[in-house]
Symmetry: C2
Subunit: 475 residues, 2 copies
């Protein structure tokens, strides 16, 4: 892989500038900001790679960018921004069409950047400080997307033909729960056919060990809404006029107890305890809990949990989280107002058996039984959990590539604690998936000052190169 | 009073324009917006009345506008904007210096106008629609202030000398709990000496009956604050990282039960049930509950209360109200975030014996006993409740004036459900007070589309004229 690595080194500056260009473009799916522009940027970059690219429309959302380095991949399509960056040899080679097909999943949307005042540099002005690139989306996941594109460019520059076919699915709705991806996957089963899937996300843990994940939790995101008088009132009427903020507080307090046990009727009955074998896997995971607590600035975990017990709750249990609560006067200072509305945004991270539909049904029944028929549930998005075993070719290639690049056995998690739309693209299409990427615990994903370390970035390009080689060799 | 009434009719257009001028000036104390400008407007208008006016500084707040029509009141100070509006006779009379002194309390600050999108016309662009003037502050209480100023102008134009001395205290911090008024009152006891006090607020009830109030509840306004990780996190960490929004929900749910009974340890022990005699007064109050419910758009009161039981809770019981709750992501759409902070703004409306200091102490002890030592209490403002009996000269004059202007016995409430800084200016200085004004139940006080009815406004000027005459006659 020496020619590959030399090419990456020679093009390092341009590679970072290309990532910065991606990060400069806001693409906030929850606010419908900049998505068309970002899809065009991704399309243009994939076309410069020589791939066939299509923007596939989805119902009322931003398009899916689909690309493939297929049989018909024509070398004359290669239009690099700096033409001299590709060797003359590479520019006349075919793109490659090995026996196996790798499906690469990424997304071009990002989370909203607020609270803005906590950013040390503006979220959409990528800034390098102390070897890190700070920008919304740098880690989640424009960095991962660009690493894969540039690794393919470097592989072709170094070796000419790719040893496999590659398909890209880059959607624009991951941060709002991928509402159209399941339908997209069903409608394009043949187009998406592949032998393995490389998912977005992943990276290093607190002790700098490379981590590979074999699955994702599901999610149900919804709002609970309470209403009172037809408009906000003077708070002196609180003696006799119902307060929706109190209604919502009382309703929420029945969903989870002070020990963080979810108390929605029947909910925990669906949660399966890990088997003895699974507990062994958990115990093999190095869990740097002191570093995690220090990073987050908390004295202890919930219930004072520690070690494998904390890890078990983290990976094998669902959550019920207040992501936002708004009612009445929320600015600085005082206002003596009786609110007319109250809204809580909840997300549930789901384990197998707990589907989003089931969660909504259990929640409705639970609230109704306790007299909270007035609390409206506005269902947002839902995703099922997905997990794959460790003995698939893609997982084996991912592990071997990690050993080659990082010089040690990777840590293997049965699932991430986070969610993603893996189910429709993997389990539903019987394509086993693996998550591996360039993140690290200080990346501030979904938070102010999101960043990646540039060293991780370039290691990540080499890792993708190794993965392509090993998975393509069909060993 | 015919000359008085004729003068008011002749100057009606200018009077409304003068009120509109007051309402055009934002003066939002909780945001420190426009207070100096508003104090100057009040000073200028009182000076045009011929009063001696001083802006008295208070520690770190906006000044108190103090005015008196005292012995030294010189007629040449009168500088009306339309000079012809004052008769030649009136302009050479002294201001008046009868045996009694009336202390008039108003405030020149207003509540914030949000939510702005619910206003049908901009809050600081006074607009007349269907006989009503819409503007933030029109009812609470720039209208009441201007009614009193214009009534004095009309009285002097009609009769020359006033039959009493009048003092104005117009502060700029009422909507944030008058944090400096108690000290101001203590430091200026002699300056403020008076035989009766006319408080701001008051007006007509749901059945168009004029209402006189003899007191105000107290208030304690504070924030409860919970903290979690040092910054917002990806919500997948909610498995093990404490969520301050849940902490706050759990803590709040211990303060009041679903029947709206305040459950703070020891709190309700301080609440005195009304005596049999007081219950008789309550039963004499016509309580238009169906109209109230219709105005507010609610199907029923808390607990389904009705009649004298609802009124008793409304007037003789304290409240514990969530005025605002904020945590995490509160905009449209979804964001899967684990919040790092949660804040609830609470107000307690207080009855006698429940002082703000006692409330804070009981709340702290209650939370600590239940393991909520981590919940911070940030105390905002506090006011004690104040009540006066019905047999004082000012109350008797207020009742007689109401009979003369409104043609019927006023409804007499022992207290308002609302609060105000009456205690330091009345009970602490032994000046009995009465509340009477130009409001009505549809005034949307503290809410979008605040308004007064112009017919109430001009009746209100006549009412103040009658009150001056009767209280001044020392009958």
């Amino acid at each position: 892989m020496e020619r590959f690595n030399t090419y990456v080194e020679d093009n390092a500056e341009r590679f970072i500038e290309e990532l910065a260009e991606f990060c400069r473009q806001p693409s906030i799916s929850t606010q419908n900001v900049g998505l068309e522009e970002m899809a065009e940027l991704v399309r243009a970059r994939l076309e410069r790679l020589g791939a066939e690219v299509r923007l596939i429309p989805v119902a009322d959302g931003p398009p899916v960018v689909f690309a493939e380095t297929s049989a018909s991949g024509s070398a004359e399509d290669i239009r690099l921004s700096s033409v001299e960056a590709l060797t003359a040899e590479a520019s006349v080679e075919p793109l490659g069409q090995g026996e196996r097909t790798l499906l690469i999943y990424n997304h071009y949307d990002v989370q909203p950047p607020d609270p803005l005042e906590e950013w040390e540099s503006p979220p959409f002005e990528p800034t390098i400080r102390e070897g890190k690139l700070y920008a919304r989306g740098a880690a989640d996941n424009k960095g991962n997307l660009m690493v894969r594109i540039q690794a393919i460019e470097a592989y072709r520059a170094a070796f000419g033909e790719l040893p496999l076919r590659i398909k890209f699915v880059v959607e624009g709705e991951e941060e709002v729960g991928s509402p159209h991806l399941a339908q997209f996957a069903q409608e394009n089963r043949d187009l998406l056919a592949a032998n393995g899937c490389l998912w977005e996300s992943g990276g290093k843990d607190e002790a700098e060990r490379f981590v590979i994940y074999l699955g994702l939790k599901g999610i149900a995101y919804l709002e609970l809404r309470a209403k009172g008088a037809k408009s906000d009132l003077h708070s002196s009427y609180a003696t006799i006029v119902p307060n929706p903020a109190w209604r919502l507080v009382w309703a929420l307090s029945t969903l989870k107890d002070e020990d963080d046990r979810i108390t929605i009727d029947g909910f925990m009955d669906h949660v399966v305890e890990p088997s003895a074998a699974e507990m062994n896997i958990l115990e093999a995971i190095p869990f740097e809990e002191e570093k995690i607590k220090e990073n987050f600035g908390i004295p202890e975990f919930i219930r004072g949990l520690s070690g494998v017990e904390a890890l078990k709750k983290h990976l094998y249990e669902p959550t019920c989280t207040i992501c936002g609560f708004r009612s009445g006067y929320i600015e600085e200072g005082s206002k003596t107002v009786l609110p007319s509305t109250a809204t809580a945004k909840l997300d549930f991270r789901l384990v197998p058996n707990l589907t989003p539909e089931l969660v909504e049904q259990l929640l409705r029944q639970h609230l109704d039984r306790r007299g909270f028929q007035d609390i409206e549930i506005a269902f947002g998005v839902g995703e099922r959990s997905a997990r794959a075993p460790l003995d698939t070719p893609i997982a084996q290639a991912a592990v071997a590539a990690a050993e080659a690049v990082y010089g040690q056995q990777p840590v293997i998690y049965p699932t991430m604690a986070g969610s993603g739309p893996m189910y429709p693209l993997s389990e539903a299409l019987t394509i086993p998936a693996v998550l591996a990427g360039i993140g690290y615990p200080g990346a501030n994903v979904h938070a102010p000052n999101e960043n990646i370390r540039l060293a991780d970035y370039f290691e990540g390009i080499r890792y993708i190169g190794e993965l392509i080689r090993r998975f393509g060799a069909a060993e």
